[in-house]
């Protein structure tokens, strides 16, 4: 295939065109599957956290725990809710930059910042929950082992979350390098 053939094969691509009404639905977000999924996840997580905040005091004897642990649990959960909403808003924000390289770099710094905040927020929330539930426990050897097990599980989860972000950041960096090469 020579250059002319390449271009004519490219020009010959035929796809079913979308009608004006379909395009309109997309920009109104009615048909945006990706955002629908994000909204659903955001809603489920936020509602779960809010319900937890409303019931934890009665269900888990908040009155018997130190006030500072109650405060920490509320602040950390509100922080994670705020981070989730910020993430959704960031995803909805348009990509900036005068060219593809700039747009990718701008997007990369946005993702990096959000990744750090996301992992830090989850770590803070896990730490506060742990502090809340262990604040009135009298520890013995067995309980220390159980606590160590719970901490190990939490650390593994945080490592998995960090790994997911690092992979995503690595992919983006790779794409930027591919453009520079």
């Amino acid at each position: 295939m020579d250059q002319k053939d390449l271009i004519s094969a490219w020009q010959a691509v035929d796809a079913a065109p979308k009608k004006n009404t379909e395009l309109n639905s997309i920009i109104q977000q009615r048909r945006q599957r990706v955002f629908k999924r994000m909204r659903k996840q955001l809603l489920i997580e936020t509602l779960t956290f809010i319900v937890f905040l409303f019931v934890y005091y009665d269900f888990f004897d908040g009155d018997r725990k130190p006030i500072y642990t109650n405060m920490l649990i509320i602040v950390s959960m509100l922080l994670v809710i705020a981070l989730n909403i910020t993430g959704y808003m960031l995803a909805k924000r348009s990509m900036r930059g005068d060219n593809i390289k700039q747009s990718l770099n701008e997007y990369l710094s946005k993702v990096k910042l959000y990744a750090v905040l996301s992992v830090a927020g989850r770590a803070l929330m896990a730490g506060c929950l742990l502090l809340f539930f262990t604040s009135v426990i009298t520890f013995n050897a067995n309980k220390y082992w159980i606590l160590a097990g719970i901490i190990a599980i939490l650390v593994v989860q945080l490592i998995a979350l960090s790994g997911m972000w690092l992979k995503r950041i690595g992919q983006l960096k790779g794409s930027i390098e591919e453009l520079n090469r």
């Binding site: 295939m1 490219w10 009608k19 924000r93 794409s175």
Partner: protein, 157 residues
Amino acid sequence: MEEKQFLQLIEQHQGIIHKICRLYRDTREDREDLFQEIVFELWKSAPTFSGKANFSTWMYRVALSTAIVSFRKKKPNIVYTPLLPDTPEVMQNSKPQTEQLFEALKKLNDGDKALITLYLEEVSYKEIAEITGITENNVGVRLNRIKNKIQQLLKIK
């Protein structure tokens, strides 16, 4: 830009979005998701379109950036059908030469895909440099390398 004008322009230029989706995604569902993401990203970025540049130039930049950064699923969806097809799935109304070309193009990395898309759209080297943010010289060198690679891939086929 007003909504009506924007939709008219997208309707006119949607062919390029379909091609980008086909190049960057493997399954019909993923292509549809990317199409929606690109159109929505264009709509969000519409206030940044000053009207000084061509609409298509601006559209290439936003569409290709979106295709590169948008999250893609790890594995294609597996659809079980009651009968095995006799021939592999091809795009509707697609010519064998086009199928062959896309098979080769899909083997390129994301950056090279962006460059070759612009070349095949017959965008000038100067404009490609402006859209991608790499130097005009580098565009020439890179495109030569990519074209040779495509020829090799097509020969192997």
